[in-house]
């Protein structure tokens, strides 16, 4: 979905024949004969200074800090439970997040979190465009970091282009080797930090270096080192353009009232070089300096309009603002703006910004509803969970005196951090006798001890005397009680009475 809005045709016919999208331009420069495959056209983004660049640095530092520091936060938990604040414990089958502890059966909370993230992404995109792509996506953050390293070794845009064009020399070699070495180091640190989310971080760090870490740890470390190095170092915008589905989906989230990085053609056209002595009458503010193009990490020309490749990072805004200050024109020729506003101004009408639209309202309401459900679910999360499985084979057993016995497996999950003794009672026909292996038969309740933070499955046999059996299929329930919790689980007592001989 390459959206190219042809705004330049009427006012500047000389651009009509020019390249209008990154794809077309790259193909034209690299493969003039046309062909099935296209080499990557190298992109040398130039360093800019300004508000959006500063925000991008800040977001980069914060997100990287969250990623690297989180596994090292300690959180005191009772007993032998892990003291790591955020931990995905596959071996122990638990997910720990500060005070929240999730069991595998509660995976719906993770689903809810994904739904929340998706809705938040929809809302933000509908309001402000692809901010996620431009600022917070790991692909963007690590690419930005890798470009920063590249700049340290090889200099800014022009120096890098010269270096790449130059023949091999000692100077070129150490710069290239240095850059790739640091890239690999960062990539390794990325893959290395990932595995700390799955094991106790301090002990894993120790075990990792002496070769005693788990095999999966090494595998994922190598895997993520490789993907980080390749994606952030060598593939960069190719990941966004060809591999990521989000640029395709975003078309459904955006409309004419979404704020996006926009070239205000109403102000910029007709563009052209400007002599210092000349006036500004009869022409646009765009001096065609190409600074927005050289700053773009995606290698596109924002003046072609909204397009699939644009990640909305705002670096072209900073680049353009620097030039506007130099030529003493107001800044904001490129800015976060809406298509509707630019169109209105071009038609001589006042720009109207509409943040509240049916789609943003819908996304916001859905976000609040799902978020509320999640919070409610987390707060009323029971500490006791009971599952009753009726035996399937045999569904019932007839005893010597005509009594009928049903077998059940009752799984009691004790989600508290203390061992609990639960009373298991059968609420059904009168005269039922309960029996669990290794215990005496009783007409009363069974006592089942479950260790802290564990599930125990107990076999319970219920026997009904012949005169208590009134139907082939009788409803019943198990009531499991602890001092602070009670759960009633419906089940059935089967006897086959209807077709008994």
């Amino acid at each position: 979905m390459t959206v190219v809005i042809d705004r330049t045709r009427a006012s500047a016919p000389k651009h009509e024949a020019g390249p209008v999208s990154a794809a077309a331009r790259a193909r034209k420069s690299a493969d003039p004969g046309g062909g099935l495959y296209k080499p990557r056209a190298p992109i040398y983004p130039k360093l800019v200074h300004g508000r959006w660049r500063a925000i991008k640095w800040a977001v980069m530092i914060v997100t990287l800090a969250i990623y690297y520091i989180t596994p090292w936060i300690r959180w005191d938990r009772p007993g032998v439970l892990p003291d790591q604040a955020v931990l995905v414990d596959f071996a122990g089958r638990r997910f720990y997040f500060f005070d929240i502890q999730l069991w595998p059966q509660e995976v719906h909370f993770i689903t809810g979190l994904l739904v929340l993230s998706a809705l938040a992404l929809f809302l933000v995109t509908a309001l402000f465009g692809r901010l996620w792509c431009g600022y917070a996506c790991p692909q963007t953050v690590w690419t930005d970091l890798f470009i920063y390293v590249e700049r340290l070794f090889e200099g800014d845009r022009n120096a890098r282009m010269r270096l790449d064009a130059a023949p091999w020399s000692l100077d070129k070699a150490w710069r290239k080797i240095g850059k790739h070495a640091v890239w690999l180091g960062i990539a390794f640190a990325t893959g290395g930090a990932w595995i700390f989310y799955f094991h106790d971080a301090p002990s894993l760090l120790h075990d990792f270096w002496i070769g005693q870490g788990p095999v999966t740890g090494y595998v994922f470390c190598v895997l993520l080192t490789f993907t980080t190095y390749v994606f952030a170092g060598t593939m960069r915008e190719q990941v966004c353009i060809y591999m990521c589905p989000w640029p395709r989906i975003q078309g459904a989230m955006l409309d004419a009232n979404s704020l996006q990085v926009t070239y205000r053609y109403d102000r910029g056209e007709p563009r052209g070089a400007h002599k210092k002595s000349a006036g500004w009458e009869g022409r646009g503010d765009c001096v065609d300096c190409h600074q927005c193009v050289t700053a773009c990490p995606m290698g596109i020309d924002i003046r072609d309009g909204a397009q699939l490749e644009c990640i909305n990072c705002g670096l072209c805004i900073d680049a353009c603002d620097e030039i506007m200050l130099k030529v003493e024109r107001p800044i904001g020729l490129i800015a976060y703006d809406t298509d509707a506003a630019v169109e209105a101004r071009a038609a001589g009408k006042p720009a109207v910004y509409r943040l509240i639209r049916s789609r943003t309202v819908f996304y916001a309401v859905a976000l609040v509803v799902v978020g509320g459900l999640m919070a409610w679910g987390l707060m009323t999360r029971p500490t006791l969970d009971v599952h009753v499985l009726h035996d399937r084979n045999p569904v019932f057993v007839r005893l010597h005196d005509g009594a009928v016995r049903n077998g059940y497996t009752i799984k009691i999950a004790n989600r508290t951090f203390q061992a609990q003794t639960y009373a298991v009672a059968f609420d059904g026909a009168k005269g039922a006798i309960l029996k669990t292996p290794g215990d005496r038969a009783s007409q009363d309740v069974l006592k089942v001890e479950v260790p802290a933070n564990e599930v125990r499955a107990v076999r319970v046999f219920v026997t009904l005397p012949p005169d208590a059996i009134t139907a082939a299929n009788m409803s019943a329930a198990f009531v499991v009680t602890a001092p602070a919790a009670e759960e009633r689980t419906e089940t059935t007592f089967l006897s086959g009475a209807a077709n008994a001989p």
Partner: protein, 288 residues
Amino acid sequence: MSKREPDEVTGVETTGHEWDGIRELDNPLPRWWLYMFWAGIVVAAVYWVLMPAWPGVRSYTQGVLGQSDRADVVVALNDLKTLRGAQAARLKTASLEEIERDPELQAYAQAVGQSVFGDNCATCHGTGGVGAKGYANLRDDVWLWGGSLEDIHHTIEVGIRSDHPQTRFSQMPAFGRDQMLSAAEVSDLTEYVVALSGRPANAAAVRRAAPVYQTQCVACHGPTGTGDQKQGAPNLTDQEWLYGSTRADIHAQIWNGRGGVMPSWKARFDPETLKALAVYIHANAGGQ
């Protein structure tokens, strides 16, 4: 339909296909995608050399790494033994009652017992253990040779009418077939047995059969017909019948004196597995 003309807006050639007025741009694939395609083919070729891949007439290409799923299974089974080591060791020393009382050991024994039962016992006794005509139901409270943990363990160990020297053994005579009783006496006895289980029967026949029962049957089934677990003689007063409850079934049993055979499992399983199996069967029978 397939006119490959360039798109006016982008200048990119279209695929030439048109759906409801929508045409598709034919943007070129990135070259790295092509390299990955070739790399995939190279990986496949390398895989053929390293791993078992191509089928032959009698065998297959083995691959230079010597990978074999059969060998992996052997390794995995050995790993399982190591993994079970601690629990299995406790099973070895604990008594049957201790195993059943300890929740952790019981859960382990049930898991082992269930898989062993499914592989070895289910053929005759059914996957749920409810048996069939001629094969005992292991889920109810009726036991031919006793339903305590020890009894069950011993039955599994030595079998019934098996070739084990200490096998549980008893043989009901074929009263009719071997002409020990007349046909009329067998018919009368059938009514007697029906009466024993509390069902309406021909009173005259029952009276005629009483002395026959006292001379022929009482030694094993007891004076009141409650059977004897030491001899595997079933209780005739309850509602459970190994060879069927109808008059024809009972008549056929007195006539032919059938008795099933269960092999001894002592040679097949190690002592821990035998214990686990006994605990599993005992627990699922409600535990006598």
